[in-house]
Subunit: 136 residues, 3 copies
């Protein structure tokens, strides 16, 4: 069994930003030389998400608007700590903070439209992501 | 370390359909001869989901109605591409497109009521699922 | 490849309760002697969740209130079976019932604020959780 671990730091310009990281994950898988296994892609912060979906700008804007409806900016109890990102925590819970991708014949085994996204919900500061490849 | 990979194609009759795939996943685990490990069950499309929950028809109807409330059919920006399935993408994000099940003593290690479901949100065409078993 | 499997039973005093299990998972990882790998933390019931987020009481209360809004107690079809926990099933789907944590140098590789929670949505009776460590 082999593993490879990589960390990537994001520092987005906007509070909410969705970044296509499919190539970054593919590169880690290739560099691992693992032929069969899985790769975990997981945010290391509690106000970020990771998902697999479409690379279509209209849909990305739809997702942002929709998440703002389901987990709106509001006056949360959490803000008594001085924080102002209650909605970002809820958005992270909603979309989940991680995915695990299958590796087959040395490549991430995605369907035709599947792209991996890092979703920043409270950016403008350094946030880390871990990619761990595991297999043989 | 051993792995086994299977693909299954669904072509549902209705746009939205929930299919119990517990036996299919169990069979893949049995055929892999893996005693201890994990099995990833992951939709290969961006308008489908996979979850673990109850095999109870009333609840399945509740889930469908509830998802239509949280991620309604509507006029999304995504539809400018010619698509009409914006709600299906959001539903996929909401329920997540994958689960990973533990394997213990050669079987998927589920609780008493846990059943694995493939959730189609934009059917009536071929859609694939990947099952990857990994362990020893 | 090595694995270690543990089960923990919860029997909460309240119907809805969120329990920090980070130390419990860390202990399982330490006892496994696995240096590089992954640990699956998964509820074995269909009315519970597992998530990674903040250990902050205000936020936990926010999450409970928010989940009650998105998946309210109501008169579900599921209740025709005699059950009264339709909302608990929907909450479980919403937050997901599992996470998978990376293990690096013998420890769970979490970000600065990441804590692992078991979320009970239908308690006051025994419910199980599985922790499966896998790696080398």
């Amino acid at each position: 069994m082999k593993t490879l671990t990589r960390y990537r730091t994001f520092n987005t310009q906007r509070r909410c930003e969705f970044i296509n990281i499919t190539d970054y994950v593919s590169e880690a898988v290739r560099d691992s030389s693992i032929q069969e296994g899985m790769v975990l892609v997981s945010a290391m912060h509690i106000t970020s998400g990771v998902w697999v979906n479409d690379a279509e700008d209209g849909l990305l804007a739809d997702i942002e608007e929709w998440l703002d409806k389901l987990a709106p900016k509001a006056d949360y109890r959490h803000h008594k700590t001085g924080a102002s990102n209650g909605d970002s925590h809820l958005k992270s819970l909603l979309v989940h903070h991680q995915v695990i991708l299958p590796i087959t014949k040395g490549r991430i085994d995605l369907g035709p439209w599947q792209q991996v996204y890092y979703a920043e919900f409270d950016g403008c500061r350094p946030k880390r992501l871990i990619v761990k490849v595991m297999g043989e």
